[in-house]
Symmetry: D3
């Protein structure tokens, strides 16, 4: 069995919660593709290429992790790369309801199953939207970011 | 008693879940007006006239169902057409919280009561937002659409 | 159409919330059977016969309301009396999840559909468990009880 | 102890629910700053200055209440004015999940704690979004607004 | 990697929902131990030995599935048999809140991670409590039970 | 203002989550009575007197904290000791729904308001039921208990 999972998201930016789910996902899958979704018509906070490079820096020494971009349906990209599962973290029961609908529709359309890990308690309140809001207003979000993401964001804001 | 209910929504598009609620609603009401809400300032995915015609096609042989459009407050339109109740389907507990607030405010303003049916389990993950997302990316959403809606969407995309 | 709904519960005791749902249910159904479920192996707070008589007193002048007892599955009793629908009130999203499971199982077993009304906002916190807890400790729960239930409980506690 | 709380929001408009939380908050704090958040890039329904003046009118005789505007992070403004706590009302469990994330992140960043009061049952369905929707369509939202807000909105719509 | 997961529960009785989660879990794990928890002080509906044998019958031809009983903490039994993960199905957001607490405590105590699959939509309303309630009252729960469980329950009730 | 709050519960046992809420409550109230509810007909896990003494040991040096027992309605005891508020911690949205009903009923009966603090993220999964379950099976729950509670439980189990 050479199992590959896709971990899809916009990762704008990638948080300590995301990092934790990917690391724990490696106990279930041989390799994980972190799939950065983009939408040509939607404005992101951080540029797509930066987001991808920064995540690569977080997992620099781990050949089991690949970072790729995709546009369109997650299940289509999952099939394209040969993923058997979609990996997702769930934080709250509001997340859960949303994730359930998406996962059940994905399963109905493609037979690709979704696997859920829970965020650890101390990461539960952290999400990318709150972090962007902190960063926009010059606040310090470093405690919610993986070390390499923090360094990269600082560098990019000094450019 | 000649009871009339209004089944309001944007139906962009009308799903198998909507169809199921309307059909079951006919065991409670003599007739049902499917009221397609529109907002001159908001861009829809499918044109209003198409959405209305497609729903009419779904219920072509049933004189108890009428399809109308409205702008403004649902309770105002309900009063205008003489509806005694607002009919709604609920899928999830997130839906429930939202529907509860709207229904209680409608009741306070107009004394028109809301009646809720639950979607059947296999329709629970289906909603118009997810379907639009599938269609936008060229995916196959036909299993979530009533036969007549599916045919009409195919026709319209071949125009 | 001579529509009959069943409004099942243990009603230990019947609250202002229950009364409100039954009254509003009469705009949907020709008649309603308030079905007081009992379980020979479970101890109730108020005796079954009292509970039934007290509810009859609440609706004394309304021939559309009948009060009956039943043991066993709600759908079996519903079929027995020829009910087309099960009527339920929902207060909170926790209620909703529980009610959804029961309603979907009932539908799968019997084709009898469940219809939900929302409690009015001021009745939302009221449930029979809280009321029993107040009464057990000699508190004043009269604001949560229909007039006739309040009078009967007072009488019974003076016996 | 000279305790000051901040009650942040956009208050577009200020509702009977907000008024109720502030009044009850005065049993916990010596003074409360109602902090009207604004965002230079976002269009509001009512002008910022009107919203502030209208809230001042609601609490005209109470020197313990101050109304101020702020842009940026709530915790930064809270520190600036020397608030020890953030006061919030919670209506529903959907609110709760959102408020929990914000409050826990605020605590992690600033050590300023959040204190929650529940809206009273009859105010539970009321929120500013629903009120704006009613007002936009010429409906009557006066039962959801404090007396002074109602008068001011009427005056402003007659201008 | 020779990955083993534990799928704990009381399985009183084992449902189509349980069967579905185990089957899908086999795409993640080499083998799964279905661990039937018991409590010497608690009365179950079906005898422990029956429950175990019936589940074995469901997976009779699959050497990757083992059925064992345990008393005590799930994490202790998981460690005893060398399981790396706890496999769980989630049906509703009420389930989710409960499962999250248990999973986070298990992780804190043992470093054994929990992995969640969602039930398929049509199995969402089904749980063992509802099934027991149907069976107690002589109802027909066969549509919610795996074929082999159904046959065994029928046999046992004819004994 | 000499504000007194009651912090009611069964505290069987008192957890790090409880300790945290009481400490943070001291920034809102001059003094807090930790009110240990008991029910002569219900069997507890730890004896009432032990639970009370152990909590006293946790706050041994803080004259602002008193520990008392009560039977009956929380609002009655709150009035008896002159408390102006009921202090509660909320962990999850399931907690929230339950707490809201109780708080709104308490307010309706007594005009005593409830004030809510959120547990910190790392304490969110911890509750007394889970801890008792761990202790019953000889597991190590020490990370979820205040230092003094842990010491006392160890002493008591060696008796």
């Amino acid at each position: 069995m050479d199992k590959l999972a896709i971990f899809p998201g916009s990762f704008d930016p990638f948080t300590v919660g995301h990092e934790d789910v990917v690391k724990r996902g490696l106990s279930l899958f041989e390799s994980i593709v972190i799939a950065v979704g983009y939408n040509a018509n939607k404005r992101d906070y951080f540029p797509l290429d930066d987001r991808m490079q920064w995540i690569r820096d977080v997992f620099a020494n781990d050949p089991r992790i690949r970072v790729e971009k995709y546009e369109g349906l997650t299940v289509d990209f999952a099939k394209e790369i040969g993923a058997s599962h979609i990996l997702r973290g769930i934080r709250t029961s509001a997340d859960f309801e949303y994730e359930r609908a998406i996962a059940q529709v994905n399963k109905a359309m493609s037979n690709i199953d979704s696997v859920f890990l829970l965020t650890t308690p101390e990461h539960t309140p952290v999400n990318s939207t709150i972090i962007r809001d902190i960063l926009k207003h010059g606040g310090d979000a470093s405690m919610f970011l993986p070390e390499q993401i923090k360094i990269n964001i600082e560098k990019s804001s000094n450019r």
